[in-house]
């Protein structure tokens, strides 16, 4: 019981700070629920950032400085803030509901609640079990917890977790989330340290639901949220202490803020999009793909269409400065520590045209075989249920609607990210596709964006076709 109280505080304290940040920055663009769920992600991202700051200035890891920082930030953010529990401007579609819909919606709600109950049960009862979780995130978290710092003595045997962390260049958000739970519990509990994962799952479903509801109405929002909750591989990630789900949350949140900006023009939304992108980069290296993709979409949407070049540059700064401020120090530190730009394997990490996992003997060539294998994985497996076949069909059916509306910017993001992943598969990470160990985890990070875009497209096609 005491553990649960501490873990509640571990989630609640950053969420309050994050909610205030969202409310301050986006000023009335989102309703209260959306602010809280976006605030959870922002708050947990801020905790990660504090770990980096305290770690690098060598403040021993304990709760006091974190609590102090979060309370001070919350106080500053709430100063002069008008608290409103009324939803922001809603473009909700007004819908009539028959009895059949009421029955269907009740079933969908029950299925979503069941999924949440399952994920929370597993997260609180099943100890860490995945090899990748141990090696990539948990061993480092446990070491940092007992050593109370990042072990930055460059001559030390366990510098930055060396010996426990095979990839020193990996961003540390998932590690810090487990460390955060352990600090509150006062011990490294093999189960409860990953409690952040189901909260990311819950927050992603909520953010998705409210974003779709605002534009496409409750019916589309509920069906699509169920389809999102039912993505099998997402459910596995909702209960294990891994990093793809948090990145998935941050990329979706950034895209939703960017999408909302396109219709409202409020620059605060760009700042929030940039903040979420920055936290995404601190979660996984792939977060950089989303920075590039949203950057592309922003330029396509705004270049030459703002009142002046100055205005465009202002907007660009709103989007990019938070990314630079959040992710920049991490990359500078990595480069200064000689960890390079990627995994931190010191030189061998970009072994172009041969998969480093196969060793240097592998023939150097573009691995075209990943295209066919990747398509089979997307189209014929149930990792994402029918998402990819329906994506293909909806593109054919809705291409006109996509091109003539702002939806094209969402698809620019999706296809840019996919193109970047495919480039990496073709040239660097062949095995992640050929043995399917990475492709679905990568896809998980942009699957919610695909579903978001498809739902908005479907709602327009259905409405138009009535």
């Amino acid at each position: 019981m005491t553990d649960m109280l501490y873990l509640f505080l571990a989630i609640a304290l950053p969420t309050v700070a994050g909610t205030l940040l969202v409310a301050r920055v986006t000023s009335g663009s989102f309703g209260p629920a959306m602010r809280v769920f976006l605030g959870f992600g922002a708050g947990m991202g801020a905790v990660s950032y504090l770990f980096l700051i305290f770690g690098f200035v060598r403040v021993p890891f304990s709760l006091a400085p974190f609590i102090a920082a979060l309370v001070i930030v919350s106080a500053v953010l709430s100063y002069g803030l008008k608290f409103s529990f009324v939803a922001g401007p809603c473009e909700c579609v007004h819908e009539k509901s028959g009895i059949l819909w009421k029955i269907l919606s009740a079933i969908l709600v029950i299925l979503i609640i069941f999924k949440l109950a399952f994920v929370f049960f597993e997260a609180t009862h099943r100890p860490l079990y995945s090899w990748d979780t141990w090696t990539n995130w948990s061993a480092g978290a446990k070491l940092f917890f007992y050593e109370k710092g990042l072990l930055l003595d460059s001559s030390g045997e366990h510098f930055l977790g060396k010996g426990y962390r095979p990839f020193l260049g990996h961003p540390l958000h998932a590690t810090f989330m487990q460390l955060w739970g352990a600090l509150w519990l006062g011990r490294f509990d093999e189960t409860l340290v990953k409690l952040y994962a189901p909260f990311y799952f819950l927050s992603m479903l909520a953010v998705f639901y409210y974003a779709v509801k605002d534009e496409a109405g409750r019916k589309f929002a509920l069906v699509a949220t169920y389809l999102l909750s039912a993505i099998p591989i997402l459910t596995y990630h909702g209960q294990e202490g891994y990093a793809d789900l948090p990145l998935s949350f941050y990329s979706l949140a950034a895209v939703i803020c960017f999408w909302k900006f396109l219709s409202t023009g409020k620059k605060g939304l760009l700042v929030m999009a940039g903040t979420m992108l920055g936290f995404g980069v601190l979660t996984k290296n792939e977060g950089l793909f989303y920075v590039v993709a949203v950057g592309f979409a922003f330029i396509a949407a705004r270049f030459g269409r703002t009142q002046s070049k100055r205005e465009f540059l202002k907007e660009l700064a709103c989007l990019s400065l938070p990314v630079v401020m959040l992710a920049g120090p991490w990359f500078i530190a990595k480069l200064a520590m000689g960890l390079g730009f990627g995994h931190g394997l010191a030189g061998s990490e970009f072994n172009w045209l041969s998969d480093p996992l196969y060793g240097s003997d592998a023939p150097k060539r573009v691995h075209w075989e990943v295209i066919g294998k990747g398509l089979r994985e997307w189209m014929l497996t149930a990792n994402f249920n029918l998402m990819f076949p329906v994506l293909a069909a909806s593109l054919i059916l809705g291409i006109k609607e996509i091109l003539r509306s702002e939806l094209k910017y969402l698809y620019i993001i999706i296809f840019s990210v996919m193109a970047m992943f495919i480039f990496v598969y073709l040239t660097l990470e062949v095995t992640t596709v050929m043995d399917a160990t990475g492709i679905h985890r990568n896809t998980l990070t942009y699957a919610p964006i695909i579903l978001f875009a498809m739902t908005l497209l479907a709602s327009r096609l259905f409405r138009r076709s009535r």
Partner: protein, 375 residues
């Protein structure tokens, strides 16, 4: 109405797949336990004939291989009657006359109580072995990431009758997933006669869309482009929901199992239950290390290759004891061949010696020992 339509749809799909899977109707070929016990075991596999079953065990894999030159005519299906202690993956492998090897994966739900009734795993193999080919050898391989222990009664090649065949497909359709170290990377896709369910549902949704469009056209004598879009998208979304509900069924099965396995148990027991590798004893060993070695001492594994998963597990679970390349205490797990020369302090195993002098520090039963490095 809706329920009967769904049943009708599945019955039609099964009927079509059954027809397509019709093969030669030869009698079954069965290898029973007595014969299986004479097959060649591979790697760490040990085989014992106990009653009417063989007991297979192995560390990371248990495999038995039949003699070559069986010269069996192919059948449409293979069935293995067995029970594994843990959830495992298995492979049934066929060596063909032309030198090719083909295999089918079996997903084996385990039972800690090996005295439970055996489970029958039947899979369609007509898609990997043509009717004109010959099976020259068969192997059963139980792999996966857990320690292996299994009872196997028989391997049978057969051509089932229509209803039995439909039953196999039906069971394959509902075969639940289980949580494994791999499930963070991919999930298992249900299939009917080796055809992935997403493909079947996608095709069914497209066919349904055509039927609906035809019905609309017959009733209204017109069909607009907008209606086509709505019907096709609507059918696909309905199919998507159907597949989602099927995949959600996995969680129901997993939750009921997990509730029994995990709820109300101590952390160490849950770790043993949840882990997919053979680390039960390592969890206890790590606890022993934590209680025996003073917290200011550094530890290291001896005679284990760097990167060996078990070394990593102990390093992880032994924390806050730090694993170091300059240790105060070294641990040795698996003491066969271990020799300590008391006079020189040289510790060696199978001809390999440690680079530093040690003295005995503690013993963990017969399976492991700790040594203190002499400075």
């Amino acid at each position: 109405m809706m329920k009967s339509a769904i049943h009708g749809l599945f019955a039609a799909i099964l009927f079509v797949l059954c027809l397509s899977a019709e093969g030669l109707c030869s009698g079954p070929v069965e290898f029973r336990a007595a014969e299986l016990s004479r097959w060649t075991p591979q790697e760490t596999t040990s085989v014992a004939l106990v009653g009417g079953t063989i007991r297979l065990s192995g560390l990371t894999m248990a495999r038995i291989i039949s003699p070559a030159g069986l010269g069996i005519e192919p059948r449409g299906f293979v069935s293995v009657r067995l029970l594994t202690r843990n959830d495992n993956y298995g492979f049934i492998i066929f060596g063909l006359a032309d030198g090719r090897m083909v295999s089918k994966r079996l997903r084996l739900r385990g039972s800690h109580d090996l005295s439970e009734g055996l489970r029958e795993q039947s899979v369609y193999i007509g898609d990997i072995i043509g009717p004109s080919e010959r099976i020259e050898g068969v192997a059963l391989s139980i792999t996966g990431s857990r320690e292996i222990e299994a009872r196997v009664e028989s391997i049978r090649l057969f051509d089932p009758a229509f209803l039995e065949r439909a039953g196999i497909y039906w069971n394959g359709f509902w075969e639940p997933d289980f949580i494994d170290t791999w499930t963070i990377s991919y999930v298992t896709t249900p299939a009917i006669a080796s055809t992935p369910l997403p493909l079947i549902i996608f095709i069914a949704a497209i066919i349904a869309a055509f039927v609906i469009m035809l019905a609309v056209y017959i009733m209204k004598r017109s069909l607009t482009g907008k209606a086509v879009v709505r019907i096709v998208l609507g059918s696909l979304i309905a199919g998507w929901i159907a597949l989602s509900i099927r995949m959600d069924y996995n969680w129901l099965v997993i939750l009921s199992q997990e509730f029994t396995d995990l709820y109300g148990k101590a952390e160490a027991e849950r770790i043993k239950e949840a882990n997919n590798r053979d680390i039960d004893d390592f969890v206890d060993f790590a606890a022993y290390l934590r209680s025996t070695v003073p917290p200011d001492k550094k530890i290291s594994a001896a005679f284990r290759e760097k990167g060996n998963p078990l070394e990593t597990f102990v390093a992880y679970y032994a924390l806050p004891l730090i694993t170091s390349r300059d240790p105060d205490i070294v641990w040795v797990y698996g003491t066969a061949g271990l020799e300590l020369d008391q006079s020189t302090g040289t510790l060696s195993m199978n001809g390999e010696a440690l680079p530093y002098r040690v003295r005995q520090y503690a013993r963990y039963g017969d399976s492991a020992a700790l040594f203190e490095v002499i400075r």
